[in-house]
Every structure is written in C-alpha cells, then in structure tokens.
C-alpha cells in the first residue's frame, strides 16, 4: 500500500507532523514541500547570540594563551619556592600547576578558571545545539531543515576533535546552510576551507615537503582531507581514483590552513592560504592536470571534482538512499543524477527533482527515524518544549550525539541502521518520559488522528484507543510505526 501523500510530505520530507499540520496541508501536500524550497534565506539560522567561528576561535586561542602563561608562572613560582625552601615538596602536580601563583596580592575573589578554553568551546556548542534544535522543533519549512541535516552529515565534522567542539555549529551555519539550495561546488569550497573541516581532517597541519616551510622542517603532507574529499565528499569510493590522485590532491591543498593557528596573526580563525607551506608543481587529479596557481589550484580542482560524473552519481544515490530507502528505485536515482549533471550541481534543483518524482511519493516508509530526528519528531508531535539540552541528551542516549559521528563518513543511513534491539527498547523509555511530560490532559486518540489523519493504521488507532491510561495511549502512539518510520 503506498503511503498517503500528506504523510510523505510531513515524514519523508519533513521532521514529523505538528498538531494541525496534517489537516493544514491536506489540500496540496506536494505544494507544501515545494514551498519550503522557495526562499534560500530560510535555511539560514539567524541568531544574534551565536558567534561566527572566527570569534570563538580567537576567544579560545586567547584563553589558551592566558592559561599557558598562568601555568608557566605557577611553575616558575613553584621552582622559586622549591629553591628557597628545600624542604618543600619539589613536585608540582598538574592540578596545582593550573592554579594561579599564590602571590600575596592575588585576588581571592577572581580565581582564574581551570579550563577556560574548554568552557568557551562547550558553551558555544551548547548554544549552537540549542538553536539548531529549536529551529527544527518549530520550523514550518521542515524539508529545508532536512536538507541542512543531510548535507551537514555528508560533510560532517566531529566535536571530539579539540577546537571543532566550539566550531561545529558555526560550520553548519557558515558552510552548509547558505548553500543547501545553491551550488554543490560553492558548498564544497565553503566546507573544505572552513576552519572546522581544516582542523577535523588535519589539513591545517599539512605542509608541502618541497615548500619553503617544508624544506626548513622535517614535516610534510597529511593526506587525510584529500582522501576524504575524493572518497566521501565528491566522486565516492568507487568513483575511480587511486592513491596517486589522493597524494596529488594533498599536494595541491598544502598551504590551506587557518590564520592564527601557527604564528600568523592575520585572518585569525579564518581560512588562510600560506604560500610558504604550499607544495610547488603541477599535479594530476582524476585525470586532469593542474598547473600551480597557489590557492587557486585547489579551488579549481574542487570545482572540477564537483562536476565529475562520478560525483553526480554518488550524490544522487546517497540523496535517494537518505530520503527513500537502501534500495531506491533506479529510475529515481537516474533522474537525480541527470538533474545534478545538467544543472551543474544545483542543490535546489536536486531537491526539486526528488520532490517532483512520482517514485518519491509511492515508495513505502522504509527508514527508522534516526535518534536525533526521533527527538525532534517527539518535540514537534507532542508539543514538548523541554529545554533542548534534555532532548539532545535523548538523542545521545539512543546513540546519536549531535555533531559526533563515528567518523568522517558520518552517521550510517541504511534503513535499519537504527533498528538495534537495545536502542529500540530505549525508545520505549523515552516514550514513557515524553508521555509523562504531556500526559496532563492531552488525549492520545485525538492526537493520533490529528498527527496522522488517514495514514493512521487501524492497529495503531485501536492500540491507542484501548490503552489503559492516557499516558499509555501516548506511549503506544510514540512507539507506533507511524511515528518511528518515514
């Protein structure tokens, strides 16, 4: 039985229905989805309290310098003290070293915090995550947010890597959101030149062995970013490239880094090309030879990879797998691939091609909601306005902490990736918690009918209706396939 078009609009192309949605869009579900593509500015997350990545970067770096100075001073003081009074303990523990020197004039009221750089990163992360969740919870243009989440996962970074914690949210706002309805090439460039990516995949450390800096020091290439650009970001693992292409792209990208990360002081926290680290020479990547034009070589190479036929195929398939299923209809993948090729990677057109394809509206709901999306759907469907932090802990408890994928490949996206026994059982625990938050007077029968309308299956309707209590009815609604799949 094909799914109901309203349900496709709200689940496959959405973040789950809010009360009233199913009724409101019933007249024109396709139009509802297409409208969310009308204005690229809607994809932006405009929140005045969120800092640009370079500001967070600089604040962190300043705090690190202060911390280092305090530590050095503490060590010097301890050394002096040890020399002056030999009976004193000569060893200084790491904890003590982090404290300010115990000088008589030290102000007790303003202690230097132990880990200010860490705190800056954590706070930025929390604020970004909260703003992102709140947008997802409330947006009427859910398809746009789904596109953001798809591309953010395609070009993922992980907060487990040092500075990235403070930059992951800004990365998404600065490199992903402006381009989700724009050109793939523009997004690719913005992503690969963003400090979060340059740190996450070690590009900022890479030095051309024959560059000025490389010949002075015993350091060299780091291929990490170059490999993932080819394997994951563009032409794909089977797209037809070899080790030579990886190495050459790594050479071309040398010099790409972040201002202020080494000794440089201009462009702090922003992309910076350092010619002194750039490997000279002409290199061939994916069959095309690139003469050395400094930073422009890498940009030209990325633009070329964005137009590579394998990239179109790779993206088309991944897009279809994400929105439809592991085994997407081949005709649909072909359509998407053609759209990508013929529009020079116009991602707005790609999204439109998906939404206007009949196959996208007839395929059954095959995918189990990822935990993050489940927590968003809960908040939307049940009208839970809990602090976003609580909802984010939910997703983490179910195995999908935000901006913390298992690797550069991002979160798995198979239909049953999130069908593990323990996580499914834990969804029941969360359903019970959520139900207790809404259990006051909400009627699960009414909510089930409101959220899912004609798509509500008879077994689910009956299970909810026959529940012993409203709370149990709510739990059954949340656990139902209607809620758990898209």
């Amino acid at each position: 039985m094909p799914p109901h078009t309203t349900a496709v609009a709200l689940r496959r192309f959405g973040l789950g229905p809010r009360p009233g949605d199913t009724k409101a869009i019933a007249g024109d579900p396709r139009g509802f989805v297409l409208v969310s593509l009308a204005d690229p500015a809607r994809a932006l997350l405009l929140d005045q309290t969120l800092e640009p990545s370079h500001v967070t970067f600089e604040a962190t770096r300043t705090a690190q310098k202060q911390q280092k100075m305090a530590q050095d001073a503490a060590q010097d003081a301890a050394k002096d003290a040890a020399q002056a009074t030999p009976e004193a303990a000569p060893m200084v523990s790491a904890d003590m070293a982090a404290q300010p020197p115990m000088a008589p004039m030290a102000k007790a009221a303003t202690p230097v915090p132990g880990d200010k750089p860490g705190r800056i990163r954590r706070e930025a992360m929390i604020e970004e995550a909260a703003a992102r969740f709140e947008l997802a919870r409330t947006t009427p243009h859910a398809f746009l947010e789904r596109l953001v989440m798809f591309w953010s996962n395609h070009f993922c970074v992980s907060i487990t890597k040092g500075q990235v914690r403070g930059l992951a949210g800004a990365f998404e706002r600065e490199a992903i959101r402006p381009h989700v309805l724009g050109g793939f090439g523009a997004m690719l460039k913005a992503v690969e030149q963003h400090p979060a990516m340059l740190i996450y995949l070690d590009q900022a450390q890479s030095i051309g062995p024959n560059s000025k800096a490389g010949s002075r020091r015993d350091r060299g290439l780091n291929e990490n970013l170059a490999r993932e650009i080819l394997e994951l970001h563009t032409i794909g693992v089977d797209g037809g490239y070899g080790q030579e292409d990886v190495t050459n792209l790594a050479r071309i990208l040398t010099g790409w880094g972040i201002g202020g990360l080494q000794q440089d002081d201009d462009r702090v926290g922003r992309f910076r090309f350092t010619p002194q680290r750039h490997e000279p020479g002409a290199w061939t990547v994916a069959g095309k030879r690139f003469e050395d034009r400094g930073v422009a070589t890498g940009e030209a190479c990325l633009a070329d990879l964005a137009r590579h036929p394998s990239t179109a195929r790779h993206i088309a398939r991944k897009f279809a797998v994400h929105f439809i299923s592991d085994k997407p209809p081949p005709a649909l993948v072909d359509k998407l691939e053609r759209s990508f090729r013929e529009t020079d990677g116009d991602l707005g057109q790609l999204a439109k091609a998906l939404v206007t394809a009949p196959e996208a509206w007839s395929a059954p709901f095959a995918k189990v909601l990822p935990p993050y999306d489940f927590s968003v759907a809960l908040a939307r469907g049940l009208g839970i306005a809990s602090p976003p932090g609580e909802m984010l802990r939910l997703a983490a408890a179910l195995g999908q902490p935000l901006w913390q994928p298992p690797g550069p490949k991002g979160w798995p996206d198979a239909d049953d990736s999130w069908l593990g026994p323990s996580p499914i059982r834990e969804r029941l625990r969360i359903a019970e918690k959520a139900s207790s938050l809404t259990g006051k007077s909400a009627d699960p029968r009414e909510l089930a009918a409101d959220l899912f309308g004609e798509q509500l299956s008879e077994p689910t309707a009956q299970a909810v209706k026959r529940a012993e209590t409203r709370e149990q009815g709510m739990v059954l609604l949340v656990m139902s396939p209607e809620f758990q799949r898209r």
Binding site: R425, G439, A463, E468, Q472
Partner: protein, 424 residues
C-alpha cells in the same frame, strides 16, 4: 533522594524550594518546615486530624474478582474458570457469606475483620460508555460527564475544606510524576516523584507494543522483542528481587506503588504536613488470561495488598484518623470472554480502609447477575453512584459542608445524595 515541589494547575513550578527526602523518608532541611508551617494544626473542631488518601486504580478493576458474590446463583456459571471457588484451593477469604474476598489480599481481610475495611459493591460513576480515558475523566473530575475536565473533585474539596484561623489554605499531595486529574486544580498540590531508579517496563505496555508490531511491522517486532529480552536477562542478573511475584509482571509496578504508599504515609504523618493525598496505579485492564485466582490479577491484587500494608504500617497511630479510598473507572463484563479475561464493563467495587472507617461490612444494593438484571445484558448493573460515597466521606471525615459538596465539588450530583454512616 527524591524531590518535592509545589504544583498548581499552571504547572509544577509554583514554588522553588526543593525538599530533600531520604530513602528512609526522613525529611531534612529547613525548607521543609518553611514549606509546611502554614498548615492548620487541626482544621476542624475536636482533636481529630483527619487524613484522606485517594487511590485511582486505572484500567477497570474487576470487582467481581475482588469481592466475589459466591452467594449469587448466576456467578459461577457466568465466570466459569475465572470464578473464585467456594471452597478448596484458591477459595476466597470469607466476608459476609454472600461475598468472598480474593485470597490474594490477606491484609485487606485482616482490616476487614478489625472493622477497618469497608467494601462497597455495584458502584459506578455516572459514565456509561466504555472508554478508559473518558471514564477516568468522569470519575476523577466528579462531574456528570461531557467535555474535557480541567480539575478534579479532590482538588475542589481541598479548596472547600474548613481552615478557620489558618494562615493559608491546606495543600494536597500527589504521589506521581504527573499529577492525577482527581487532585489537579487551583488548590496547591505538592508532588512527590518516586526516586529515579530505572523501573522495569510494565509487562502490559510491552505486550501491547509487541501486539501492535506483530500486526504492522515485523522488523520493529523483532528488534523490540530482542531488546526486551536483553533487558530481562540484565534484570534477572542484576536484581534478584525483580519480578516480586513471578514472571508475568504482577509484582513489577508495585515496587513503585509500595514506595509511593510508604512516601504517602511519611507525608501524611509529618506534623504540619499535607493531609490529603492522591496516587494512581495502572494495570487493571485484564482482557486476557485474567488469572483472578492464580496469575495476573491475583498477583496485582497481592501487590496492592502489600502496598496497603506498607501504608497502614507507615501511618502508625495516625491510621485511626485515616481513610483510604480505592476507586476504579469501571468494572468488567460479568461473563468471561473467549480469552479467559473480561472486557470493559460498568459497576464494580470501591474500597474504604482505615481506622476512621466503619468497616467490617460489604455495603451493596445487590442487583443480581441474572441475564435480565445485567446492565445492557453484559455488565454488573450500577446501583450506587460513586459520588454518593465521595460526598459521604468528604462530609463526615473532612467536615466539608454538604452545601459546598453539592455546589462546588460535585455540581451535577443532585441524584447522588451523600451516603452516611461510612465514618465513625
């Protein structure tokens, strides 16, 4: 540790003091006294300090299995295997010759013998439909039915309690994460949430989800079954006491219920503490394999009996000033269904326990169980409106004037006059 917080209709943020309650129930911290010092020492005349605990049994308790009318000639044939036997294994505990008490409840029986337990039978709220949610709304709102209720009769009773000379109105106590409708409303309510240890899932909820996935989604069914199995193995490894009453889950919810009952006793005996409390217990919706003599229902009744004992013991001497009221939204079909269970019915039992109760009796205007006597040919017919019992208790035990009860607490209850003689 558990926390208490003030709640009102607007939410649970009415006051900010968090009061610590240790696992042993000792109240500590200055906030406790500050919070409760406003309460009247004795709100009504005399030395009595009456307490009332209302327990809502959700799901529809089968009154015919709790207090079985073995003297009714039609009982055994209607109930078949589910009927409590008159004698032999599984026979009930004697009440008055006509009724017998389910053998799983020796504590309730002991109270009955001490004249501290009163069983009312063939009782129903004014609701005549068969939806749990709607029936619970009518029972807890105390209204005639229709429309969505926003407050409960116990809360309105609180607001109507005499509090002459007291600085502030008395507060209620809800022992649940979600305040039950019966005590929700404008009068302030303290809430106590059970300690957040991980309770096992309710067997009933698991069964319902398993059933739903079985009909709709084989992949989810398989994953869910495996997840529950992992939980069960971990539970039996880590907690030997899990499943107090065996594998069918009879004991599970009652660890929580007993904890709530113990906490209720602590609060209701605290000098200056709340005197009116409410809690609810799920798990009475016995559609299949009811097991009234041995099995599901018997286990749940045993758990309820244990919680009653925990509460009575916890009350100590204050038990003499206490009434515990146990009510359920409706009863179950008189005849068993095809799966050794019973479906949603109409009239059932209500229980009154406590030293203040004039007990040792079964009070019933028995309608009989003949085909002709059954309500709509299927249910025990209601002969007493539960509101007449509630009005009797609130008036005689808490001293709320009948005018207030008729006007504010049960506004549509002219047909249900207060039942006297329940207290004393």
């Amino acid at each position: 540790m558990a926390t208490i917080r003030c709640a009102s209709d607007a939410g649970v943020t009415g006051c900010s003091e968090d009061v610590a309650l240790s696992r042993r129930g000792l109240l500590i911290g200055g906030a406790t006294l500050a919070l409760w010092s406003f309460l009247p020492k004795s709100a009504i005349a005399g030395a009595r300090d009456p307490r009332l605990l209302v327990v809502v049994l959700r799901g529809g308790l089968d009154g015919l299995s709790l207090a079985a009318p073995i003297g009714d000639p039609d009982f055994a044939k209607l109930r078949g295997r589910l009927a409590l036997p008159v004698s032999g294994e599984g026979a009930g505990l004697p009440l008055d010759g006509f009724f017998t008490l389910n053998g799983a409840m020796p504590m309730l029986h002991a109270l009955y013998q001490k004249k501290e337990a009163l069983i009312l039978h063939a009782v129903a709220s004014p609701y005549r439909g068969r939806s749990h949610f709607d029936a619970q709304d009518v029972l807890e709102s105390g209204l005639g039915g229709g429309g969505k209720a926003t407050d409960g009769w116990l809360n309105r009773a609180l607001a109507g309690m005499p509090s002459a000379g007291a600085a502030e109105k008395p507060k209620g106590l809800a022992l649940a994460a979600v305040v039950p409708l019966v005590i929700r409303g404008s009068a302030p309510v303290l809430t106590w949430t059970p300690p957040a240890y991980r309770l096992p899932f309710r067997a009933d909820t698991i069964a319902r989800i398993t059933d739903l996935y079985g009909q709709t989604d084989p992949a989810l069914a398989k994953a869910f079954a495996a997840g529950i199995e992992i939980d069960r193995m971990a539970d039996s490894t880590l907690d030997p006491k899990a499943g107090l009453k065996g594998k069918d889950g009879g004991g599970q919810p009652f660890r929580e219920f007993t904890a709530a009952a113990e906490a209720a006793a602590k609060f209701l005996t605290t000098p200056g503490g709340p005197r009116i409390g409410a809690l609810s217990v799920d798990g009475w919706d016995t559609h299949a394999n009811e097991g009234a003599v041995k099995g599901l229902l018997a286990n749940r009744l045993a758990g309820l009996d244990a919680a009653i004992k925990a509460f009575a013991d916890g009350m100590g001497p204050a038990w003499q000033d206490t009434v515990v009221l146990l009510v359920t939204e409706f009863g179950r079909t008189a005849q068993t269904n095809g799966t050794d269970g019973t479906d949603h019915g109409t009239a059932t039992t209500a229980l009154l326990l406590g030293g203040a109760v004039k007990g040792g009796r079964v009070v019933a205007d028995w309608p009989g169980l003949s085909q002709k006597a059954l309500f709509e040919g299927r249910d025990l017919a209601p002969t007493r409106d539960v509101r007449s019992i509630l009005k009797g208790i609130l008036g005689d035990h808490l001293g709320i004037p009948q005018g207030v009860l008729a006007g504010k607490v049960f506004p549509d209850s002219a047909s249900a006059a207060a039942l006297g003689g329940l207290i004393g």
